[in-house]
Symmetry: C2
Subunit: 382 residues, 2 copies
């Protein structure tokens, strides 16, 4: 994997770059749809390509449990199994172990957990996760980390980030040993942790940079802390990271979060928001998020977003889409997901264009002015 | 609507024909996917076209309840509302009133029923159903009938078919009065009832033919009676119907049922089997129906059906499809439905080709020999 920094925005820290992987190039900033169980829920690879997707994310925790990384490896790796010949990133499973599974026990060796599906006991170690991710065969893989909750006591956060650093070193060691065993070269990123504590974030980031990863992610943010806290921690962390490598904000976020983070110098994003909210009928438009279930759309003959050229907007009225959700028809969630993915992937595209033209700040002001108007209706939170 | 009988099979009563409607031509025999609530579950109009669909069916009962025929009419009729510019047939709602709704009361005037959704009371009369179907605007519409259950006492069946005949006359009257009120011309079919009683079927069919409908449907079959009974009643009924008009067997059936019925001279079919079973993982192949949930497909790298060129078969392995169903991913039911619709629509296409080449009997023997092999595994019924 290589990263080329193509241009920088004159009015912000936004960057336009290009990641090259064995499965293709990815222009950054980029939004990566989440394909939890080897599928971005409701969508086909063809749909993802039509939405402009250049890279998708798979969840190691879920794939390890079902259908199992060894089966996926035998079926041609994750690329072959789901027939997605484009770049893939897999997370480490750490976040899901801590948020989904029961009875987890964290020790220096690794984390023992019970499957949220059948209660079976499993152990993830930094080494075993590298083996799982080698079998899955994503282009970019992440090491096992502990994602501390928010809020988190300083003492716990300090110990946790120190252990996550030792895990990172062990991951890197095992990753080197496994090199050449996969179907194609993989890149390994480091994940900066440290909760909301500035000194821990700095210490953690510097130590990771010393280990020389292929790229760096910021983990443990966008989990409930105030936006202002997140912004400050991002700035602080990015100041510790090399300019010539990709930077990935894990699990973020809303369109406003993405625009803010890109302005601070981040390159990669993943989030379940567009797919999860799409299934529920919270749909993103240039004029803000709307709740398609709302009665005001009952006879609305207009498309979701006049400026959008996704299949749902080219084909259906809001009245029809509302009918689909209202009657529990699967085509509703499918169209909502397609549209939202198109919106998020396209938003990153708009940002790349604005950066390459040196007008990211102006663009973001214009975008947000239009976007925030209807958002105030808050009908999605009803 | 016009019907042209293009050719007849020399070895059977199978016919190859063409129905022309304001929204396009339909070669027969034809399979019509069921779009109950203005959507063939999980699929887009684009998917249906890709599967070769030339005409789809909408359910008047469901559309009347949600979103309502008047709303649909204001949104451009069913064609405009769901953006399906090709032919549509709507049923009368009778079957759903009798099978889905609560507390129905049948009188000469019509049928009073309670919505299965919210318990609201409604009255369907032969006249009101014509009004609803005019508002929906399908190319072919059906009159209100009583679909008697199986088995049914002779006395009840006799009274019922006599009332259904009077309803047919009232429907035709109201249909004439409404002519020109819709967006485009519509055709009205008659529905032959009479339970499993030969004399009632003949009496009913002859009386309907005297009323001169645009085509004729056989209702009240494929609801649990023995196959041999169904075959005999079809033959008897078709002998009463004019050769130069289309004949539609409502609600049938399996691939074997369709082949049998085409050999007896039927032209049109609709059934929820491909979509309902597709959602559950019962998938149709040239070698019989398989249950994709079965463990034997866990690592099967082959497509569902090597001879099928639907998107699911061109893109995914059985192992991947099984994983989707196993993990409850919506893409599974979506791909299963797409494949099954492709199979049923394609089956009608194979039959048209065989008839036009005068080798329907030979073709059906070959098809069934291959199709029945794996069917005996019965794994779908597990």
């Amino acid at each position: 994997m290589t990263f080329e920094l193509i241009s920088k925005d004159p009015g912000s820290k936004a960057r336009f770059g290009r990641i090259s992987t064995p499965h293709g190039d990815i222009d950054t900033p980029v939004f990566m749809p989440v394909g939890t169980q080897a599928t971005v829920k409701t969508l086909t690879p063809e749909d993802l390509v039509a939405a402009g997707t250049k890279i998708m994310l798979g969840n190691t925790y879920h794939l390890f449990l079902r259908p199992g990384h060894e089966l996926i490896h035998r079926m041609g790796g994750l690329h072959g199994f789901m027939n997605w010949p484009h770049p893939i990133l897999t997370d480490s499973g750490g976040y899901q172990v801590f948020s989904l599974s029961d009875l987890k026990t964290i020790k220096e060796e690794g984390v023992t957990f019970q499957s949220h599906i059948d209660g079976a006991r499993h152990l993830f170690t930094p080494e075993s996760v590298m083996e799982v991710e080698t079998a899955l065969g994503a282009d970019i893989i992440m090491p096992l980390d502990e994602c501390t909750p928010y809020p988190c006591a300083y003492e716990y956060a300090e110990k946790s980030q120190a252990m996550t650093l030792r895990w990172a070193m062990r991951s890197k060691q095992r990753f080197s040993e496994l090199e050449g065993r996969g179907r194609h070269p993989q890149a390994l990123f480091g994940i900066v942790q440290g909760s909301t504590y500035e000194d821990l974030r700095v210490e953690n980031a510097q130590a990771l940079v010393d280990m020389a990863f292929d790229g760096y992610a910021i983990g443990g943010l966008s989990i409930g802390e105030p936006k202002s806290t997140m912004g400050g921690l991002i700035d602080l962390t990015l100041a510790c990271l090399p300019e010539d490598q990709p930077r990935y904000l894990m699990g973020a976020g809303t369109p406003e979060d993405l625009i803010d983070a890109v302005g601070r110098g981040l390159d990669m994003f993943d989030c379940v928001i567009p797919s999860r909210e799409g299934r529920n009928g919270a749909l993103y438009t240039q004029n803000g998020r709307i709740n398609i279930n709302n009665a005001r759309f009952k006879e609305d003959p207009a498309p979701l977003d006049e400026t959008c050229s996704c299949y749902a907007c080219r084909t259906f009225s809001k009245a029809y889409l509302r009918h689909l959700y209202h009657t529990g028809e699967m085509l509703g969630p499918r169209m909502g997901t397609l549209h939202n993915i198109y919106f998020f992937v396209g938003l990153a595209g708009q940002m790349r264009k604005a950066i390459s033209e040196g007008r990211f700040v102006k663009w973001s002001e214009q975008f947000l002015m239009r976007y925030r108007t209807e958002k105030n209706r808050k009908e999605c939170d009803q």
